[in-house]
Symmetry: C2
Amino acid sequence: MELIREARPHGREKLRANLIEWFHWLLREAELYDVRYPVKGAYVWRPYGMRLRRHVEELIRRSHDETGHQEVLFPVFIPYEFFGKESQHIRGFEKEVFWVSKGGEEGERLVLRPTSETAIMPMVKLWVHDYKDLPLRLYQIVSVFRAETKMTHPMIRLREISMFKEAHTVHVDREDAERQVREAVEIYKKIFDEMCLAYMINKRPDWDKFAGAEYTIAFDTVLPDGRTLQIGTVHYLGTNFTRVFEVTYLAADGTRRLAHTTSYGISERSIAAMLITHGDDAGTVLPPRLAPIQVVIVPIFYGEEEAASVISYAREVEKALREAGMRVHIDDRPDKTPGWKFYFWELKGVPLRVEVGKRDLEKRQVVITRRDTLEKYAVGLGELVDAVRGLMRTVEENLRRRAWEELRSRIVRAETVEAAKAAIREGKVVEVPWSGDNDCGIKLKDLVGADALGVPLDSDASVGGFDLRDLACGEKRAEFWLRLSERY
Amino acid sequence: MELIREARPHGREKLRANLIEWFHWLLREAELYDVRYPVKGAYVWRPYGMRLRRHVEELIRRSHDETGHQEVLFPVFIPYEFFGKESQHIRGFEKEVFWVSKGGEEGERLVLRPTSETAIMPMVKLWVHDYKDLPLRLYQIVSVFRAETKMTHPMIRLREISMFKEAHTVHVDREDAERQVREAVEIYKKIFDEMCLAYMINKRPDWDKFAGAEYTIAFDTVLPDGRTLQIGTVHYLGTNFTRVFEVTYLAADGTRRLAHTTSYGISERSIAAMLITHGDDAGTVLPPRLAPIQVVIVPIFYGEEEAASVISYAREVEKALREAGMRVHIDDRPDKTPGWKFYFWELKGVPLRVEVGKRDLEKRQVVITRRDTLEKYAVGLGELVDAVRGLMRTVEENLRRRAWEELRSRIVRAETVEAAKAAIREGKVVEVPWSGDNDCGIKLKDLVGADALGVPLDSDASVGGFDLRDLACGEKRAEFWLRLSERY
């Protein structure tokens, strides 16, 4: 394998200048997703996008199956009587819930699930008898519905979230439930790692936790324009739901106790984050393990006499890669030029391109181009499979490394409101000293004019040795760093 | 491999006596599906049922992917303005459609899709430009909603059909669309064959075709109580939808033409049919290729000293089967007896049971029991994998053969109304002479007091040489056999 062209990655100027516009362009041009469906906040997954999504769903299923989760499927309809049982939950969701009217039975009051705690609890009550039935770990991948009043964005802010993976777990006590919270965090780390996403892990402030939770831990990523995007949440629900749904179990000591529950969710937002994080002005780069097409082969020939032998050589290359278990596509469209094809597949994010021409055929080699850096290599046929395998790993590692570098470069600290404001203006996530008091936190984010992500769980959150005051409540000693950012 | 017990399959008396009651029992006891969800016609897939369903979904995806279909995902919400465009369609569906009320935007009139023709057409209009874009074959596996006023039945008659595979295809002309109709029939045959289902293929009478179709071809199976169940439909839609949605393409000759479309669907009903068709009074039998667990290993031992060596032998057997790619489960629960476990796994339909005891360990053999016949074999460890593989094939073939024998035995002909009535009373599908006239057909089914399945496409439908009169309209010469049955 010989390097024949140095790295010269595509720029990211357009992407950074107007991220949402760029994203619309990508979704349309790469034929991933159609934003023209005639209902606000509801979009169409096109075949190429769907193939990508299927790989992500497989990753999600695998990650949950391997860790003792069982897939289930609950109905979309939730009787209002159940939906309204938990007072915090209903207060948080009632404004954004869709109701079903005509078509229901007389007197039926049904909502479309915005999340399934209140659908699952009444069944869990029937399934759980004693401590041996616990822990119970269920998940489903479904559509949920939120009547967003804010501006909707494709794949990011939806009225139908169509790839909502929601896990719901039931435990004997707080300790076991919190162990599950930590395990969920590990599962999500693994999923996002495979998507080559970088993330912060933040404990949301109390005023922004999930409606019905004791606390919420969120995964936030930073997009190239400096705004953050929540890509996953994990909730410890305590006994809030089990109390109102009377989910109890017989403990080993013969007493009847309330179970503790958790829930955690991710959605197609993670796919949006992936497309954007690895995007550039030429399109996107898909992590090789998730790409619908991992290698595209472009035969290059002049005239009919070259065509036959080059295409037949391309098929030989294709066969070798396919037999090695790779997802390969050969683009032998006669009416498109090689340049057009390069552009087309770069747009779609295929991680590796293999060019084969007459000269390659003669030398029994191919030329491989990495989508992420545009580095080119000449590779002999004998080392083809190993080289492609190695390059796929390299691309994956590079995507992950770049994402983490970008994320780390975005996080700064500020000890004054002015400095915090300046950081936000520069597209940073800023950590500011905070007492931990709710009212001060709300005042603080408003002073800075940003959103609060919460207290970091992925680095030392404690202000510790520093002698700092809460930026909003100067009379209080700062205890934590509070992360602020502009959020999508 | 030595036969050590002859076939003595479980009876089917309870199953036949009250099929729906038996089905509820099976779903509950085998922990497949929970009917206690507090919304009419909406049920819960439990983990074991969901694992089965995932295998069926994989079969469906594979069958469609292999034949040039592309998976997509459209929103649940359809604007009423689109839903109402095709006059037959809206007439057929408007009474059973759910509306979304509160939560929608001001003035928004949304329905929950009962099927997606009217969601897909406006997008297809944007995607199809010229004849080179055709044929276009799309499918999705989604929830659809029907406000059933009839009695609902788990997995069979639902208000949320949660595994609706709907394919939608677009073609240059009638000929190509009808070629697709025939291909869809072949795809469904392959799917049902793998589910070991027997089926009739019937062209529905005009009064019972899909709302908006030119004609509908249906797959009907016969359940053990003699009533039929529709398990799949294929519709030729002509230009009914493309006309109102203005889906045109530029033909090779430069003219602009209306495209022709088809749609075809199957749902979790096919899983219900599978569970029931292969059911008996002890539970069900799952077709080996679809079973979540293909082989269950039950170690049998007396006392602690036997336990260790027998369980370790069982693990050796498990490892050999797992390495051969089989889905194996070892049931080593210490608090359950072997007899209890036999009952438990027969209920759940695991196709093969492997018993290993001290004597088997000494002889380096296992005892394999077929779930379908309860035949037992002694199998040496050296031939284990081949024997299991062979027995799985045999079970599959036997399930399919039994299903077809049962179905064929159910179809009879009658040349008088009285004979037809008697046949229906005996739980038969009866073929009666029919002129082909719509009014006569409706009169005929009412005279017999049965439902019309339509004209057979899987056998000679023509009355042909026989000199028979339409049973309802004696003045008309019979042209076809019309199939009648009691339908679910």
